[in-house]
Symmetry: C2
Subunit: 337 residues, 2 copies
């Protein structure tokens, strides 16, 4: 009963913060037991190239190629392309490192040859020697759009070009209503042997919600047999990186872990918040867990991964009445009760 | 009578060797008096990118960005892209430097946005501060194909991937029969004030012939009022660079300047060969000039440019009967007789 529960773990991840926990999970789980579902709402075409920022951060992070300082892009990168492009009068607001370009050029070439995004990511994952699967949440375009007082903005226009400066009023995931979830995801969520679903400490609005917006994903998570664990991206009222806290203020939400937990009400069984935040008020039916959630080094990533898995396994072993859960899912299989 | 004749000079150029003389011409002529017509038979799509090797060599050479050792690509280049692409299992047989990539990405983007190749080259030329115009011989695709004993090969497959190893049996310029010459070229050739047409020391078969294969170009050169000067790419029975001499052997031509001159019979008035080759047997009606044609440094390039212009101007001043010329063109305007 105290041995780790077998079974696969499905992690939902955006970019840098999510990839840190995905890396931790990849180091404490057998490779075949981790599947990372990646946000594709940030994907866009730039200079004719198909760019998938969150997938790329996951590929680089899980292969050890990531820039350890920036968290995105490749380590030991050079920037001759950007300098030359500037010399040609090209668009330079989106930084593309020389080595990073290879991934965009190769992906664009493969997509043009008829491969799906999933096939491209799978080929590159294997080539880079990454054990866990990385699944784009969908192979269909679901570009995130940001509503601001000045109107709707494309995601990268808001995120990179305007450096998240405009106040956000809302979000849209264009095309999500007709997108097909990547073919492996729903069967995984229906698998009675699934060990846990982990919502990584990514931005709820622009990293996790676009994943949940793809038809079938949210319902399958709510209905799945395994515990759903979310890790707060907010520590001490601040985002570790990115605009999460700023967005919460602009959306008139109290900036804190509690509001993130409420955002996941009905979907999450266990909410992991930072130990420095003390007790967090959680929605009824959601269990709390405190941990060191700031992942500075590799040990932090592994430790947080272990906390998440331990919390999930404890939840699975404990008696609980899922019918009372705000997730509202059907009764759990007998062996888990 | 001894002052340099005014008027424009139109130079036909392939890559490295041609670009050297084009650079020399650009340094001894006012910028507005030089127009370089570039071979586009080498152009191809690679990794989804539109690549124009000869145009790029001209752009880099005339802007001072060229790698002075290799003669192609950019100086101070880095190679992170190729290394990363190899790591992804991509195609690495065609070398693309990091800075060089900017030109291919920017060109591909502009072409996809609806610009013609001429418009792209013009925009980049201006951006790089290059004075002389660089005109692709055509905006239509005219890909060179190489006939070998193993069948037809795409140009870059033969030239780069197979390192020119297969013996050549012939050449084809696909699509040339329906290509339109770039709009500025024929009016320039018809201009009675044209000072000279210069066939740069480029490979006759795969750099100059593709230019001449575009409908109207060869006839307009043969009919033009100005002298046509060709510079031998063969010195001492060897090509300075590239497969010219090897091709001549494979085509059962005697490897030497004389065979190059015969190749241009009917088109060229003055043939400039290397001073080390001594007297070269020339077709009837073709005048010879000897010079130092090996262009090692900038002074060599400028000196050869001066020799070419001087030979052209002397020809224009001298009495000659063009009706007896193997160029077979119509009588020259009176003021030139």
């Amino acid at each position: 009963m105290t041995a780790a529960r077998p079974g696969r773990v499905l992690a939902l991840s955006g970019g840098i913060g999510g990839a840190k926990l995905a890396l931790g999970l990849s180091r404490v789980l057998p490779a075949e037991d981790l599947v990372v579902v990646a946000n594709t709402g940030d994907d866009f075409r730039h200079l004719g190239l198909a760019i998938s920022p969150d997938i790329d951060t996951l590929l680089y992070t899980l292969s050890g190629l990531a820039d350890p300082v920036k968290g995105w892009g490749r380590r030991d990168e050079t920037w001759s392309f950007m300098a030359a492009l500037a010399g040609l009068g090209g668009e330079t607001w989106f930084q593309l490192g020389d080595g990073d370009l290879a991934l965009h050029v190769e992906r664009t070439r493969r997509l043009a040859a008829g491969e799906t995004l999933s096939e491209v990511v799978e080929a590159i994952r294997l080539r880079l020697g990454i054990g866990p699967k990385i699944l784009p949440v969908t192979d269909d375009p679901v570009p995130t759009r940001i509503r601001t007082q000045d109107g709707w903005l494309d995601f990268q226009e808001y995120f990179v070009r305007l450096r998240c400066e405009p106040a956000v009023l809302g979000f849209a995931f264009s095309g999500a209503e007709v997108a097909q979830p990547q073919a492996e995801i729903l069967p995984l969520l229906r698998d009675p042997g699934l060990r846990a679903v982990v919502i990584c400490p990514s931005n709820p609005f622009i990293s996790v919600d676009p994943i949940l917006a793809v038809p079938g994903i949210r319902a399958a998570i709510a209905a799945c047999a395994a515990p759903v664990v979310a890790v707060s991206p907010i520590i001490g009222g601040q985002a570790v990186k990115g605009p999460t806290a700023k967005m919460m203020r602009e959306l008139d939400l109290p900036v804190g872990a509690a509001a993130v937990a409420r955002h996941y009400d009905g979907l999450v069984d266990i909410f992991v918040s930072d130990q420095g935040d003390g007790a967090v008020a959680l929605p009824p039916g959601m269990a709390g867990r405190q941990a060191k959630t700031l992942m500075t080094d590799l040990a932090d990533r592994e430790n947080l991964a272990r906390v998440v898995l331990d919390a999930a396994d404890a939840w699975s072993r404990s008696p609980h009445d899922p019918r009372g859960s705000p997730r509202g899912r059907s009764p759990r299989p007998t062996e888990h009760q």
